[in-house]
């Protein structure tokens, strides 16, 4: 049979972000998926080296609009790792609260989009309607619906008022009701069972082999969660108090991915309540001065998985290297395990099921004249080794690299 290819993108009504899929088809069955990105590369890592330490959080916030607390959170943790300090308790609690509020609205957003992808627009409209309550609470807490700008090296940038916290409690209460309703929908609705069960199964072995993270790996029975494995900030005390738990299921299909996200919303609501009830008084900011030379790594569990920031300082007022690894970067290759063998309608859903965020992922861009070249893994390793050697020479350090 003749193979057909189906191009989708870069501007397509199904995609909010510009990306380009090529589906290789045999009849209606997808045999292979090819993904071309690069439409979203803005050069954050380079731009970051031109900004001062305190300006960078505003830039990394704009890596992605939906995980707009996760990136600055990981960045400030990296700088605090370099400095060897911890934020004052109230600062820690405020940051964690905003991070969890973000997880709630991000998961509700995904739920709506998943509903839209299977042509079940009622789910979309309802979940986005309930998401508005959370956005209202975020606006009350921080002053903006998205892009909260609450993270600062050494603590939180602004304090939050008791009135805003009370308002948030109300929003969480009403949101818990609607999320429980969604849980009921997932348990009972025959449409969702037919469309989601057994579709795009990611086995536990594949999830580990592809290093999938976050709500992509947890439905496959891999209980990885940075908040639990390496508790930072307020997550340690909340975990000890038993305020929340990590949700893990076994099947790894799209249905489980959806259920894990709905259950995570409920856990985040519990955690938010605990954070507000136990919010300590006192300073919000440690008052960081100069940044000494050195390097630091920070990671945070974003709504889509683990986000890692690495920074290096030479003692000046700007970072000399800033590296970002977003969760979608490791989740994307799981398409290779999940997509082949499904119909086009299911593949649209499977590609959406990892909650892909291309603006987070695009950290490398290759500009050539003929625009047809591509970079292989070997090329990337070679470039990386060359760059590391050059940096080591500049820093006067002995190379720890094996011969390439």
């Amino acid at each position: 049979m003749k193979k057909t290819t189906l191009p989708i993108g870069p501007f397509h009504p199904l995609l909010e972000e510009p990306e380009f899929f090529t589906l290789y088809l045999d009849g209606e069955i997808v045999k292979k998926v090819d993904l071309r990105i690069g439409y979203n590369h803005r050069g954050h890592e380079k731009l970051s080296t031109g900004l001062t330490w305190d300006q960078v959080p505003f830039l990394v916030e704009r890596i992605c609009g939906i995980c707009s607390t996760s990136h600055p959170y990981a960045y400030v943790l990296a700088v605090e790792d370099l400095l060897g300090i911890k934020a004052p308790p109230r600062g820690q609690y405020i940051r964690a609260l905003i991070g969890e509020m973000e997880r709630i609205h991000s998961h509700l957003l995904w739920l709506g989009l998943a509903g839209h992808f299977i042509g079940y627009n009622t789910v979309w409209m309802w979940s986005w309607r309930y998401r508005e309550e959370i956005l209202d609470a975020c606006e009350k807490l921080t002053g903006n619906r998205n892009h909260y700008a609450m993270c600062r090296v050494g603590g939180a940038r602004r304090d939050i008022t008791r009135e805003a916290m009370d308002f948030t409690m109300g929003a969480l209460d009403s949101n818990e009701k609607s999320t429980n309703m969604f849980l009921g929908v997932f348990a009972d609705d025959p449409v969702l069972h037919k469309r989601l069960k057994g579709v795009g199964v990611l086995t536990k072995e594949d999830a580990i082999a592809y290093c999938a993270t976050g709500p992509t790996s947890r439905p496959s029975g891999v209980p990885w969660d940075v908040r639990q494995d390496d508790p930072y900030d307020a997550y340690g005390p909340s975990l000890e108090a038993g305020a929340w738990k990590v949700i893990v299921t076994e099947n790894g299909d799209v249905f489980d991915k959806a259920v894990v996200r709905v259950l995570e919303i409920l856990e985040s609501i519990k955690l938010c309540r605990w954070l507000i009830e136990n919010m300590p008084d006192g300073e919000i900011d440690a008052g960081v001065g100069d940044i000494p030379p050195g390097e630091g790594v920070g990671h945070h569990e974003a709504p889509r998985g683990e986000v890692i920031h690495y920074i290096r300082s030479d003692g000046s007022n700007k970072p000399i290297r800033h590296k970002v690894r977003a969760p979608t970067f490791v989740n994307l290759p799981t398409y290779k395990a999940t997509c082949p063998g499904h119909t086009i309608a299911d593949v649209a859903l499977i590609t959406a099921s990892i909650d892909p965020c291309y603006c987070c992922t695009e950290r490398i861009g290759v500009v050539t004249r003929n625009r047809t070249s591509s970079v292989t893994q070997d090329d990337l390793v070679k470039l990386s080794v060359e760059k590391t050697r050059e940096m080591e020479k500049r820093m006067g350090r002995k190379s720890g690299l094996v011969k390439f």
Binding site: F11, E17, R42, L51, I63, W128, R129, R145, H147, V367
Partner: protein, 143 residues
């Protein structure tokens, strides 16, 4: 006001062009369709092809990779059309101005392609959905 402009102002259909956004304006645009704001009551509909569209909603800065695609999309849109530049990035460039992968502001790219293009700026990071509706209404009242 010509006949074409008069026809344009009735229930505008929009096509969403995400250049290199951070996703935020895009999500707020989708938010406009959902129950709280529900812009379809004003006859504003998101369509699947630029050939059906009266207006382009452009978000984000345009990087090297996306610029030719943006020009192609603008050419494909039936004229006259309105270009709404949503958000601070599309309107002014913010942090990304002068970045190695961001050669030109979006408005310059469009004006180079068509010097008579109608461009409406809606600043904000992201603009609130109310601001988006207000921007569209204001633009329609001066056309």
């Amino acid at each position: 006001m010509g006949l074409k402009t008069a026809a344009l102002k009735k229930s505008i259909w929009v096509f969403h062009v995400a250049c290199s956004p951070c996703n935020n304006c895009d999500i707020e645009i989708l938010d406009l369709l959902t129950p709280r704001f529900d812009i379809e009551r004003f006859g504003i509909v998101l369509v699947g092809s630029p050939r059906h569209a009266d207006a382009l909603l452009i978000t984000g800065v345009a990087n090297r990779h996306v610029t030719p695609r943006l020009i192609e999309t603008y050419r494909a849109t039936s004229k006259p059309c309105v270009c709404f530049l949503f958000g601070a990035c599309a309107s002014g460039g913010t942090f990304f101005k002068g970045g190695y992968n961001v050669p030109k502001p979006v408005d310059e790219i469009i004006l180079e392609e068509d010097p008579n293009a109608i461009i409406v700026y809606i600043p904000g990071c992201p603009p609130k959905p109310e601001a988006m509706i207000a921007g569209v209404v204001k633009a329609l009242s001066v056309l």
